[in-house]
Symmetry: C2
Subunit: 393 residues, 2 copies
Amino acid sequence: MQEYGELLPPERLLLGPGPANVDPRVLRSLSLPVVGYTDPFLYGVLDDIQELLRYVFQTSNRLTLPVSGTGSAGMEMAVHNLVEEGDEVVVGIAGFFGDRIVQVIKRAGGKVIPVETEWGRALEAEKIEDALKNSNAEVIAVVHGETSTGVLQPLEKIAKIAKEYDALLLVDAVTTLGGSEIKVDGLGIDACYSCSQKCLGCTPGLAPVTFSKKAYDKIANRKKELRSWYLDVRLVEKYWSGDRVYHHTPPVSMLYALREALRIIREEGIEDRWRRHETTGRALIRGLEALGMALLVEDEEIRLPQLTTVLIPNGLDDAATRKELLERYGIEIGGGLGPFKGKVWRIGLMGYNANVKNVLHLLSALEKILKKHGFPVKNGEAVKAASEYLESR
Amino acid sequence: MQEYGELLPPERLLLGPGPANVDPRVLRSLSLPVVGYTDPFLYGVLDDIQELLRYVFQTSNRLTLPVSGTGSAGMEMAVHNLVEEGDEVVVGIAGFFGDRIVQVIKRAGGKVIPVETEWGRALEAEKIEDALKNSNAEVIAVVHGETSTGVLQPLEKIAKIAKEYDALLLVDAVTTLGGSEIKVDGLGIDACYSCSQKCLGCTPGLAPVTFSKKAYDKIANRKKELRSWYLDVRLVEKYWSGDRVYHHTPPVSMLYALREALRIIREEGIEDRWRRHETTGRALIRGLEALGMALLVEDEEIRLPQLTTVLIPNGLDDAATRKELLERYGIEIGGGLGPFKGKVWRIGLMGYNANVKNVLHLLSALEKILKKHGFPVKNGEAVKAASEYLESR
């Protein structure tokens, strides 16, 4: 058997779809001494996390906690608890993660009423209303920030329709929570999930979820237990609520990290954090446009600030360029998913990484690469465009 | 909203059923910089982990990886992949975690053929054979180390029966992996899962699993997809295998920690590690007996060295004594589960914690507490008994 050396990860600037770089404060908290799952100290951590998650989700939902798994486990928890065998669900599909919801619903035994739109566009609320009218669906599922396309889905109209038709609204906030305005109670969202490693600024491994009273009542009145014991929120909550009934051993170090990441958000203020993501994302766009690059999402209003999808310029090789960015500049950006593979790059500015310094570093690296390949870019033009935008704010 | 202070966990000696204290090397690895899920560096980490897990499981199974969840997620992955709707499964039930397997199988749509024994005893292989004979079961599920009772279930006879009847053998090694001899290939185990926070010496949050070729073939030939998308091992393996097809964002920091914990095991040597757990556990027992305490598991041969269940002496209050141990001596031990609540303590000596120093510290604290409550214990008798045993080894 080969020898296993000391772990020496390279220092990367993670400007892909996540994980983003993690605040040193959060990394440090991971190394704190572990305590047991009945330790009064840990109970305090659980309570803090729940309160802080309510703040980040902008909700007073009692049932607000992090799932002991990654974002996809959060999706599975939300779907499997809310959707019973045979239930119809209207699903907005505008990219890879809308598709994923479809798969998870089908596995839960649900029947998907799809409402599709071209990747790179937002869903039309009217079509969702039509689907709702013409079905027995009691749940609408949509993705708030579609990481595969860089579209920020407006939720207001959809939320209004959900209310009118008395349907439950399930929202995937994997890419938006902590980065874009989302008010769970204000909009009337009934189930919402996210991940730890994007705009929350933590390391990957946890999935915050929240359920409204209405969602909880549907879950409590299920005809049959859900198939998953691990993700049965009514079992999980018994530990997170005051009763502390053992369900599974919580991932203590990850909980420390999440608490620290949420504490940092609380210190910054959630509105300021939304603004920071928006400003940084828009500055990046100015710079990319100054480099002559085109964005996938044409409508400015629905561009996801924390994840920009840019078309790969003709003449640049996808993999080779990303490799050069990684190896020469230490920058990771994301490739395209599904139909966008080889056609689009996904540039993330999330959490700890959503700042000017990173925008300028990336633009400067892209400028050098474009120049090397003979693209007509002017020296410093991109950095100038981004800087001017930032100064104007 | 209240203020959230700096996280300052108390220093505890974790001698309960897990998590155990984590080697400082492992804790430190948690703070290393995070990289993306397509980073060549991370691919190296994934490969190392798989190889090291094969060493720890003593298997050459290709499909050997850590589930992105806790030990219970590992149980759910093993059960849901192997058990289809309507499948009969012979389940050995000798404690809380045997019961848990039953619940998970039922949720997967399986039909449980229970083989029960009194809590505190081992399962009888003959009864398992009878159940197999009288059913259509193709899977036998047993717990190797029953954390609720402190029984180490002998597996040889059961494994032989599984072979004879061409049944798949599913083994819960949550408490034993890395602490007690378990040879997946040697015994012919087809599916085995564990957790990170017990004898592997890592922090909680990951669940190593391994599937034999035979198990894999059953999974590949399922009539229907399993209900869980997150735990579908055929999807998960596409990322862990050479193809690196994105499934979910791996918990990078936790993977760093697991690799470091496994590297430490490799340095120690798995046989030496099994011996260390056995010796330390037996030393504890000598000490407890010198204090006049009685063990739950009467048969010495089946005592789980890394988790000793001891009867709470008449006249000592369960909660108050554990609180005193925690607050005055910084020691956490576990309370009883199910019918043993208030009757039994569970003392773990796992991974980093399985050493003399901890045995002596605990015995000395227990001696003081017993004395204070008027029990006739001789000064230093327990420490002497444990030390003498250790010197004789």
